[in-house]
Amino acid sequence: MAFITIAPPAQPGSADTSTVPERSKASGPTTAPAAGLRRTRFASLRLGSLRTVFLRTLPSHVLLIALAIVSIFPIYWMFVTAFRPPSDALSINPLPGPLSLENFQYVLKTIPIAGMLANTFGMALALAASQLLVAILASYGFARWDFVGKKALYLLFVGSWLVPFQVTMIPNYLLVSQMGLLNTITGVVIPQLCSAFAVMMLRQHLEAFPKDLLDASQMDGRSSWRTLWEVVVPNLRPALAALGIMLFISAWNEYLWPSLIMQKSDALIQVGIRGFLGAEGNNWGAIMAASSLACLPIFLIYIFLQRYVVDAFVRSGLK
């Protein structure tokens, strides 16, 4: 860019000339006025180009700011409503207040939210871990070896991703019921052990994995199994972390399937939140307070693992 080539102001008699360009040095004491002129010209150039850049990027920035506000506003509104007294739940004042913890107290009194959060955390962790494990093994197989029917098998994986969950919901429910796993977290996890999306994503990462490393590992005498765990997985750690977080978040947000399987226990937070929606009106204050609490684990993940989360969501779409 233009402004990075600007010469710094030359100080007559200054001992430090290291920053003065070679040409200025060669021209001796006459350089000061020339440099000043050039500086003015460059400065105006810089101003001009800055203005051009500003004007050119202004619409996109306005759009991005507007989109950011649209995205953040519901979260902001959730907290604002949660921290209002229940009688002000329907207030449309955009500013927060009056401050009250009544909604949180009601939620804590009405539903076992700590247990629900712990159970949901356990379910999401189990789901994310099992899906990640299956994805590592499946994508390694797809990327490492060529075998008959590889394409067809991969297409089947992709195809299973395209089948809406609702189509398989009832057969899966019957299967879980026959296995005697209703009302257990295992019952929620088993039919979702494999995430076709995770397999597809990891396969793309593994396709880009340097073959030389795999060959070197083989020449070192490692088996395929050891190569996977000692060479591939350590090198894929950032991608695996990103994918794991993404799987965890989507498992955390699951509602329909867990509510089918966990019918006899009010074990999950999403079911707990639903309890404040009713045929005789919704308790918005309590819904927002419970939702705020339900968001906390995801917020914590986001705060501490922000880089991986952004990687997960941005790169998964671009790779």
Partner: protein, 450 residues
Amino acid sequence: MRPLRSIALTIAAGTAALALAGCSGTSQASTVTNQIPELKSDQQVNITFESYNLAQAGVWTDTVKGLVADFEKAHPNIHVTAQAPQGGGAVGSNTVSSVQTQLLAGHAPDVAQLTFDSLDFAATQLGAQPISDLVGKDAVDQALGGAHPFHPNAKHLADWNGKTYGIPYVFSTPVLFYNATKLADAGIANPDLSTWDKVEAAAKAVTAKTGKPSLDISCTSIGGNWCMQGVFKSNGAQVLSDDRKTIGFGSDAAIDTVTKMAQLSKDGVLRNADSNAQFEGLPKGDTAFILTTSALQGSFMSAATKGGWQLKAAGMPSFGSKPAVPTNSGSALFVLSQDPAKQRAGWELIKFMTSDHAYEQISTKIGYLPLRTSLTAAGGSLYDWAQKNPLLAPNLVQLDRLQPWVSYPGNSYVQIDDILGKAVENVVYYGKDAKTTMADAQKRAQDLIP
């Protein structure tokens, strides 16, 4: 994603319905003709009770669980597992699909709370057991009677083909709630809101003062068909003929009814809002009137107290001199078990959940209408409560004119209801031609009648 999910859910429910339709022959064939034996005092029975009230946290869950605990104390040999329906959807909207799914897996709840619109389906497809066959008609009559009997119009709301399939449990009627303070500001004191013309005149006065539509009618929105049936009946229209074979959405009386409702919209007094926005319109002060379920009384009362305005209630308005015919929303309790011991235990639970004690709890804690209405009369255990809740009066008076919420025949009863809801909305709120829209809805709905 939501529309996709709901479509898929409908498909799944439809598939389940078809599968059940195949099974229904066996369940009907196995209908018990002999009465089920009484339980021995030491006979231990475990039953499952599915109630949509348990899907709602707070007083709803606490009251039902409290009653179940009371029942278990009174019947130590019967253990009840109380559960909410599965899956998503609004409270009360997925009761049948939940039972269907569990039925497919071979473990349907032994007792279920089902809404009245699914009565036909429950009796003919879902395997609900005719209670009057199981325990005898006398036992049913005895249970519905007692010192404080069921209101005569409530007794047989879940009867089917001369048999009692369900015992009415909780329901509401359409009540016109209004903000008396807002009306007074518009110069109307002690309004007479007995007819639609009078309601329109009052609403016009409030609208002229506030500059915005002041009336909400939840009957004319999707999901409000239970009370729209009452609006139709009040104007001499029927959604379904008495022989249950012909849909009547396109009749002259039905067209006249929706045209009159549409006029309220054209005159700028009827607000176009979805049901949730409607429920919040009166508490927020956006509207001054709402014709809706009496079950909302509690939330309106607390909003009025906090907002410093006076809440009043009137009965459902009539069309001129024709009497208004309110219909009921709500649900009944059904026995679904095939096992005689569980059926008997289920019947004991149903009797308990519809007893004087249960209605004392349900009415005072949740605010639902006590179906044993004399409990609210002088000397009754709910007398003091009724005195403290004067808004209850129009609701109780309406029971004398109550007609049942009609359930459509066949497996597509939900779709038929949906067709009517959309057609009414299109005419009332979106200015579609009443005659062609309602005739088209009638044709499409008729095609779904078996």
